[in-house]
């Protein structure tokens, strides 16, 4: 029993963290920091998952968090490799400088 902490509190914290992550993706132009903001959004979703797993007494929610973490690890490995590869060809990781496909 967690006296005083309800699902509403956990969902509010999760929403605030997710919004900060989304804001980070929108306002920063350093691609590494944008990538970190995406990780923050994933973690906010994980928090909601664990909160629901606890309040509904369903362990599957925690197993899903485990899978989300595994997918995030794979995503970080490939994403950072892409950033390194972009840096090699542009000497910059600024997202505004990688706009060749713009119409």
């Amino acid at each position: 029993m967690i006296p005083g902490v309800s699902m509403t509190h956990i969902l509010i914290l999760s929403g605030v963290l997710f919004t900060l992550g989304a804001l980070g993706v929108l306002i920063r132009r350093n691609s590494i920091v944008m990538f970190m903001a995406i990780e923050l959004m994933l973690n906010a979703a994980n928090l909601a998952f664990v909160g629901f797993a606890r309040s509904m007494e369903a362990l599957s929610g925690q197993v899903f968090v485990f899978f989300v973490i595994a997918v995030a690890a794979a995503e970080v490995a490939v994403g950072l490799a892409l950033i390194v590869s972009v840096y090699r060809s542009r000497s910059s990781i600024d997202i505004d400088k990688v706009s060749d496909l713009r119409g």
């Binding site: 967690i2 990780e39 973690n43 664990v50 197993v63 794979a74 970080v76 600024d94």
Partner: protein, 170 residues
Amino acid sequence: MTVEFAIFLGLSLVAVGAAIGMLVSRNAVYSVLFLVIVFLAIAVLFLLLSAAFIAMVQVAVYAGAIMILFLFVIMLLGPEYVESEPSHPWQFATALVLSFALIIQFLIVAIVLPGESGGDIGEVAQGFGSPASIGTLLFKEYLIPFEVASLLLLAAMVGAIVLTRGEHPR
């Protein structure tokens, strides 16, 4: 105010403050360190929500391995990098307005979704979220997704090596 709520409130403030610090710091290394603080705070929240195994995975994989990878790449590319000016002057204001709309939506969902009970969190069985219970579920009900995840990690490993090995002599 109960002890648990005080802990929750303190961790929330730490997590939100560190997340804001991550967004505003100009040096990418500071951003990584702020993000590690966010991840550690969330790991303690997982402990509070009786998810002991997930909390340990969070510390080891997220705060440990993934952030070291970020630091490594930042060291490789140089942290003292100045961002360009925004190409659209209205970008910052638009982002703020959109985020505000998003947070309003989240607040509505957070208040409506748990229903009349207020979403109070009750008692759970002993051993809920322990490594043994997670492992049993993982290898019985979720065996196929587990194997697919291992395949995905293998593919990501090969992909990262292929993308970063650079010019190879022919």
